[in-house]
């Protein structure tokens, strides 16, 4: 009896909002049963992390003031004076670190299992573009607290950007809105970080999902594509996502409570003793920049990173064979392994140089 009343009330609301058609489409929408397997876990986790980043970012903006004199104090206030300040900032901080790692695994899985191949080339391409957004978010986000780490890593990044031939200097000036890292620059970085970049990110996410919906999830290797059991998207998959969302939020909140996210000393451009240390994800790029000197600097700062990015985006158009099993694609996988080896090697070199062998 009670159930019936709830049913009719929700039906009335759906009718009022003219959502009947959408509801029917949602209920009829089915996904392959293998969408729930553990090997497909990364995509769901990434979605959860992105949602957490959006939410925690909105909450952080409540207490943020993008002016050099007050930015640091506003972040410090939100972090230490507001209840759950460390949880909100911590979820943002740990989420993006985790996001970048999980993105690597997500990409590696598609690479190894060949799921980038036709008809899913555009799923891969949009995914790689989304990956390239993350550094932009980090570059613009790191400056916002106006602490030593953020200020000095921004100086280093800006001079790397400036060293790109032809467009580098203008690009850096446009980013900063002048030649100073001051109030104009901070306002710009803030708007890029909270408005423009998220807008574009949502656009590319929508495209990623559009292509997944139309081209389908890749078939698990060694199964018969004709007989592929299906399950309803709602509630089966949606419930899994909600469950994952709750678990990840709670775990990250506990971590943030225990290990307060970092906030350095306030930015001081005169401080000569401060040595910016590159973050883990950028170690290999940093190392590339310092390996190539003089006339070859353009190789490390521009040509090699651009080449790698091109290879990554263009992969589905270069490797056109329909064969997906890793055993038959050893050439591609070996090249990918060698390139990854180089990247990991450079990262280890960078780690040793900046964190272990620091000489003074």
């Amino acid at each position: 009896m009670n159930d019936m009343r709830v049913e009719t009330r929700s039906q009335k609301i759906i009718e009022l909002l003219s959502l009947g058609e959408s509801r029917d489409r949602l209920l009829a929408f089915e996904v392959p049963k293998d969408a729930l397997t553990w090997t497909r876990f990364c995509g769901s986790l990434l979605l959860v992390l992105l949602i957490l980043l959006f939410f925690s970012g909105i909450f952080m903006a409540f207490y943020y003031s993008p002016v050099p004199g007050t930015a640091y104090d506003s972040v410090d206030f939100a972090l230490f004076k507001i209840p759950f300040g460390s949880v909100v900032k911590g979820i943002h901080h740990y989420s993006w670190n985790l996001l970048l790692m999980v993105m690597g695994i997500h990409l590696g899985r598609s690479l190894i299992l060949g799921s980038y191949k036709a008809p899913r080339q555009m799923v891969w391409v949009t995914g790689v573009i989304i990956l390239f957004f993350v550094p932009l978010f980090i570059i613009t986000g790191d400056l916002l607290p106006w602490d030593q780490t953020g200020y000095w890593s921004t100086q280093v990044r800006l001079s790397i950007i400036s060293s790109v031939p032809f467009i580098g200097k203008s690009a850096a000036r446009f980013l900063l809105g002048g030649s100073l890292t001051g109030v104009v620059a901070l306002t710009r970085f803030y708007i890029f970080h909270i408005l423009l970049l998220p807008g574009f990110l949502v656009l590319f996410l929508a495209m990623h999902f559009h292509f997944i919906r139309h081209r389908g999830l890749s078939e698990p290797l060694g199964t018969d594509p004709v007989f592929r059991p299906r399950i309803p998207f709602y509630p089966n998959l949606v419930n899994r996502w909600l469950f994952l969302f709750i678990i990840v939020s709670v775990v990250l909140a506990i971590i943030s409570r225990h290990w307060t996210p970092p906030l350095g000393d306030p930015a001081d451009p005169t401080d000569s003793s401060y040595i910016p240390k590159p973050e883990w994800w950028v170690l290999f790029l940093n190392q590339l920049v310092s390996v190539f000197k003089g006339g070859l600097a353009v190789l490390g700062s521009t040509l090699i990173p651009a080449g790698l990015a091109g290879l990554l985006i263009g992969l589905p158009f270069m490797d056109r064979s329909p064969y997906r099993h890793p055993a038959g694609r050893w050439k591609i996988l070996l090249s990918a392994a060698i390139l990854s080896g180089f990247i990991i090697g450079l990262s280890i070199m960078g780690y040793l140089e900046h964190f272990v062998l620091v000489k003074h």
Binding site: V67, P68, G69, W152, Q155, V156, L158, S159, I160, S170, R173, F174, L176, G177, G178, S179, L180, G182, V183, V184, T187, D268, P269, T270, D271, S272, S273, I275, P276, V289, S290, K293, G294, G295, A297, E353, K359, H360
Partner: protein
């Protein structure tokens, strides 16, 4: 065109304006320790968009017995960290990527390939003035 040009101009405009730069007074030349690099800190006001803020930093100044003065910017020509003068080794070192410059400001080791920039200076009424641009 009608919307694109005004919007692009709006976003780019402040980036096109160059800061004119100004002469900064570093006090009496007599205060410089001879034949060694002196770290001279500065703070001057710069207009940044809609507010005027202090710009802080330091330069390296060396005067010899004949009152010949040379001023180096502290900005490493590799990736813009601040270089530090090491009296024992008579070199500037950059802590970020271990770049080294000799006393003439020429790169001798590490990633930097361009010499430290020499800043224009003059002595007026016994005071050292350095032309600073940001």
């Amino acid at each position: 065109m009608i919307t694109g040009v005004p919007l692009a101009t709006y976003a780019i405009f402040p980036a096109l304006k160059d800061n004119p730069g100004s002469w900064i007074d570093f006090g009496s030349v007599e205060n410089l320790e001879l034949d060694n690099f002196n770290m001279l800190s500065y703070e001057f006001m710069v207009k940044d968009g809609w507010i005027i803020l202090p710009q802080r930093g330091f330069v390296w100044a060396r005067a010899d017995a004949e009152k010949q003065i040379k001023i180096f910017s502290s900005t490493c020509t590799h990736l813009a960290c601040n270089v530090i003068w090491q009296e024992e080794t008579q070199e500037f070192i950059c802590p970020c990527h271990s770049g080294r410059f000799n006393a003439q400001g020429m790169p001798v080791a590490g990633p930097p390939s361009r010499p430290l920039s020499v800043l224009e200076h003059k002595v007026t009424d016994g005071n050292l003035l350095v032309f600073m641009k940001v």
